[in-house]
Subunit: 336 residues, 2 copies
Amino acid sequence: MRFGRDVYRACHLIGLIAGLAWATQALAQTDPLPSWNDGPAKRAIVAFVNITTDTASPKFVPPAERIATFDNDGTLWAEQPMYFQLLFALDRVKALAPQHPEWKSKEPFASLLKGDVNKALAGGEKAIAEIVMVTHAGMTTEQFEGIVKDWIATAKHPKTGKLFTQMVYQPMLEVLAYLRAKGFKTFIVSGGGIEFMRPWTERVYRIPPEQVVGSSIKTKYEIRDGKPVLVRLPAIDFIDDKEGKPVGINSRIGRRPIAAFGNSDGDRQMLEWTQASGSGRLMMLVHHDDAAREWAYGPKSKIGTFSDSLMAEAKAQGWIVISMKHDWKKIFSFEP
Amino acid sequence: MRFGRDVYRACHLIGLIAGLAWATQALAQTDPLPSWNDGPAKRAIVAFVNITTDTASPKFVPPAERIATFDNDGTLWAEQPMYFQLLFALDRVKALAPQHPEWKSKEPFASLLKGDVNKALAGGEKAIAEIVMVTHAGMTTEQFEGIVKDWIATAKHPKTGKLFTQMVYQPMLEVLAYLRAKGFKTFIVSGGGIEFMRPWTERVYRIPPEQVVGSSIKTKYEIRDGKPVLVRLPAIDFIDDKEGKPVGINSRIGRRPIAAFGNSDGDRQMLEWTQASGSGRLMMLVHHDDAAREWAYGPKSKIGTFSDSLMAEAKAQGWIVISMKHDWKKIFSFEP
């Protein structure tokens, strides 16, 4: 049995190598969330993953049903001094101004072109809608994708000077990767424009276009010069915010999430919908309470409002509020 | 170097076993489409898969972009004597009739309840819309899912006496499995109701709810007895047919398909949209030309119209028309 013994020995060796590889991997995996401080938020994530992925757990969830949804603005990337998509729209107004001499005397464009953003946005939702429509509609989906790609590759954040895709939260990138490693399918469910996000979410978050749910405008199929195109129309199709989030989740995903992450009143219904999908669910809210490293805002902020009533509901329902100040060791990946 | 040589020998042995396993697998894989007769349709599918998945091919497509879309009615399952969803609606009218005494004297319900389906549907789209709304709206999404699941588990096809989920085309199940084995993501893009399909597409086609695109009615988020629900409203949200198919693909998937399968004029724009996404694309149309084993219908059929102009476009564009009679060895999996 010399051959047999040597085969055994050889296999043992192979086993040893495999074992070492495993140990190295296990070591690397001991902390899947290195940018999180030890605390209730981090522990809640790990505990949730354990109870839903351990086949022996009474709260085990089959891989196909492991749906996790993430708001984008203020949850995966920053949203100050204003939604980045609005900064994109303002840049577009400037770029398009030469073709629109009438904007010089027409609000909200006139103020905007004079550099007075506050005055331009004083018109509220109507002003914003006007800006969005002239900058987001009237071209094909392919043309719009190209415009977004160009902007996202070059435009810089007004405060940090970083690319907007660098303004993503390192701890949340770790949550995304951790969940996916445990068989979860990660989705964005954002009030932001779906076609503003899709050109870069795969590269930045590893979330493919088909897993992005967002607000949208209508499109129309046309043949132009013998080639089919989808033309973006100046008409709202769907607003994926507040009550719209469960509606969007149902219509686009067709399954109830078992984990949901948000940061504002716009995410309340998504978290309620997730919680009601069964027991052993994870609902989390990022709280912007770190003026030194990011921004501190909440109940009185126009952008990313985290109202007192949301805080009360979080407490009553057992949703976990993530303190950026205390729970996050690092906020942006570009930090040392 | 005795140890080294024996390790080599052992590894050789392991390699041999692995090789055998591979050969067995390869043998099993020699024909991924056993229910297809050898012919231009089958060869086109295999050739397409080879050129898009071979890294050495100039038409190689990365796995993330391997999107294949399938119409449902008449492409994956049968659609005669009428769309199965309409048969479902008719059954629902009968089930709901006791709660609606007024239907006895109100069309289209009166004729329907007397068993005169033709007269009931004589009112055309308006009559159908009325039937769909009373049977598909006015309940929560969870309630509707339960109704569909009960019906699909028990209702029988009026001609074959089989469950509707048995009325699926075996050759198409093989195409779905073959494409997925080659790294494709398979989507349904159907004019049918999305929430009529999702409760069973995973079990029957291995297509999960999040990969089903279809027509939909509006829903509304509400808290009922302290529990969040989505209520189905009697209002059209989206019609995923004809020009709507590229619109739905863009809004729900966000990527251009590289393969598309349909069977009627309703699929024309989806195939055009797919073809225009690049070279080395696969566009196929199932042609119902087998009166003996299935149904033979085409240009004059109200359901699943395959017009002469579609046939002309298919020929001009090089789309492959699948003859059920000649290309399919077997149609339904229940056949011997």
